[in-house]
Amino acid sequence: MEQHKGKLEIARRAALGLAVAAAVGYGVGSVKAQESPADGVTKDRIDWGLLMDMSGPTSASQSIWVAGFQDYMKKVNEGGGIFGRKVNVLAEDNRFNAATDKIAFEKLVGQTPVIAISGMGTSASQVALAPTIKAGKVPIVGTYTSTSALSEPVTPMVYNGFCGYKQMAQAGVGYLAEKTGAKAPKVVTVAIESAGGKEYHDYVAEAVGKLGGTAQLISVKVTAADITPQILELMAAKPDFITIYGVANTSILTMKALGQYGAKIPAFGITYLGAPQIFKAIGPEAGANYNFISCFTPGGADASAGNAEMSAYADKVGRGAMKEDINYVAGWVVGQMAAEALQRTGDNPTRAKLVETLSKGFTVDSKGLAAPFTYTPTNNTGPVVFKMFGYDYATNKFKAFGEYADYAKYTK
């Protein structure tokens, strides 16, 4: 009987094997048309990769960035693409997880090859992948966050695409110190306990130190529901102004609590915290003291050509609600950067040609969505010119304080 069972087993496995083989065989016939070439470029298509968190804890901002990038590329494709090729965006979801990021990165390098990758929103993954990227062939064009592990020393493989923390700190501190007229300003950084929080605070302390002032770091939990203890500590410190690093929730809890406790201290958030929902959640009273520092102009905040173009397109494709989110603008501008890079690489681009073109240096002109920014063989910092933005609750629009040119002096 045992013998009998063994044979049956083999027969069943053989049948299963045949079924699998048949399925694979069927697949060979049907999908061959979509075969990807090694560098992600075909006769009529260029594949471009994104690596971002689209279903994890930071997806609320990162997937909006992805939308901005995709929309710009849609617009490019509607205008005929680049040298007749459509740009096909392969957006991979890393779920804010370094392991998933590594899998997705490998996929974009070898399985469904792309010519270049943008985004890389998880700083831990950037650190983990940095050696591979630097020694590899696929350039990172337009990062969503910059870690020194990836972008230093300057390499032809990496180009930052978001406002840098250092310049955010310099511009924000410089502007608010001037505006509040505080000599030797006392500043408090409210930051979530994370990789970037301490780094950002160090930049703030450096900028404040130059003015002869002092800076204090107060940490909060990412998923807190109330931060009364930290706000009491903050109020006891009596700062001239506050700067906030974190997620939307960090700004909301800080500003709301300050409002409840009747403290009117001016505050500015980092660029990522420039979303209309944050201002709406804070409310007009406390929101009057809240600004954010940004190297990008949110949709509708001014009448530059780039802004009008972006706003009109976002409205057209039904993403009008997103255009005011700074993450959407940042994605759109990196889209411009990617298109510019491909344009310069010329007809028949390859990874090697793209890297060669980029490494010689180039300038991205976003037509007013950001001050024009330039990459050189020794500098891949990206956007460095900033502006402070607040919210006008009467018209439900962002308002800028001054021009980009006014702020250049802070980040020199």
Binding site: A67, K221, D226, L253, Q277, I278, A281
Partner: protein
């Protein structure tokens, strides 16, 4: 400073207590250790967003909408997903609730899109000074409403006939079946109530910060709350919630915000070692 931190902890703890109460009702009736309770909180917040920002309902109607929808969803989840797994090992059921929260999260993110939503209601905001304390009106409202709900449900379980039937069913399914109580209906009711209580908590948490699926982790603090208070005990859940809120705030104030989670779980482990049935639970039911 201490009193201020204590007050904020109590206010927060009241919301946790409410969510934990919902958790305890579900556990008492169906012995399901519900890891989806955090996502139920998120659902409540999004139901409120739907009613207020999308459907533009007047506030009292919106409240009714949230309550009714929450109860319905809870009952539907029980009858379609939980009931088929009755009597299965606890781990399978726990996994089921985790899978439910994965599905709910994905569904919400598809339906409402990635940006977080703001929830504004006519509930009071701002603050006032009272005996040297700065009292946030929203926190106070949240605490008062939570306590009102807790008392209301306490009375419901103690004095109404349905409440009595539910308690009887929870005590012994067999005895309930013999005496003609429809056990499944009672279980459905328990899930409806559990979901609704979580949803009310979600409405407040959504207003305290912003509505996004990230509220889940705050809602999940109901788990340690229930264990600390005593899993079979309704007042225990409320006490556990209060304790978790107060410990969270005290740890954040006097140790570091990082330490708040671990402080809660240290207490939980201590309770498990000394009094596994929880602070207000009954001895002898620590074998599940």
């Amino acid at each position: 400073m201490f009193q201020q931190v204590l007050f904020s902890g109590m206010a927060l703890g009241s919301i946790y207590g409410l969510v934990a109460l919902g958790f305890a009702v579900i556990f008492k009736a169906t012995e399901v250790f519900n890891f989806a309770q955090g996502m139920f909180v998120v659902c409540g917040a999004y139901l409120a967003v739907t009613a207020i920002a999308i459907l533009d309902l007047p506030f009292p109607v919106a409240v009714l909408f949230v309550l009714v929808m929450a109860a319905l969803i809870g009952a539907v989840i029980q009858s379609t997903l939980i009931q088929p797994l009755a009597g299965r090992p606890i781990l399978a059921v726990i996994m089921l609730t985790i899978a439910i929260s994965i599905v709910l999260r994905a569904g919400i993110e598809i339906a409402y899109g990635p940006p977080a939503r703001t929830l504004t209601t006519p509930m009071p905001s701002g603050g006032f000074a009272f005996m040297g304390l700065m009292i946030s009106k929203l926190h106070l409202t949240a605490a008062l409403v939570s306590w009102a709900c807790v008392i209301l449900f306490g009375l419901f379980f103690r004095y109404t006939s349905i409440g009595l039937l539910m308690r009887a069913t929870a005590d012994s399914h067999e005895a309930a079946t013999i005496s003609g109580i429809r056990v499944n209906t009672m279980n459905r009711l328990a899930w409806g109530i559990g979901f609704t209580l979580a949803a009310i908590g979600g409405v407040f948490l959504g207003q305290l910060q912003i509505v996004s699926t990230e509220l889940e982790s705050i809602g999940l603090l109901a788990l340690p709350a229930v264990v600390i208070g005593g899993m079979q005990s309704i007042p225990g859940a409320v006490l556990g919630g209060l304790l978790v809120g107060v410990i969270e705030q005290l740890a954040a104030a006097y140790i570091s915000p990082k330490a708040s989670d671990v402080a809660i779980y240290v207490l939980l482990l201590a309770i498990l070692m000394v009094r596994p049935w929880g602070l207000l639970g009954q001895r002898g039911i620590n074998r599940v």
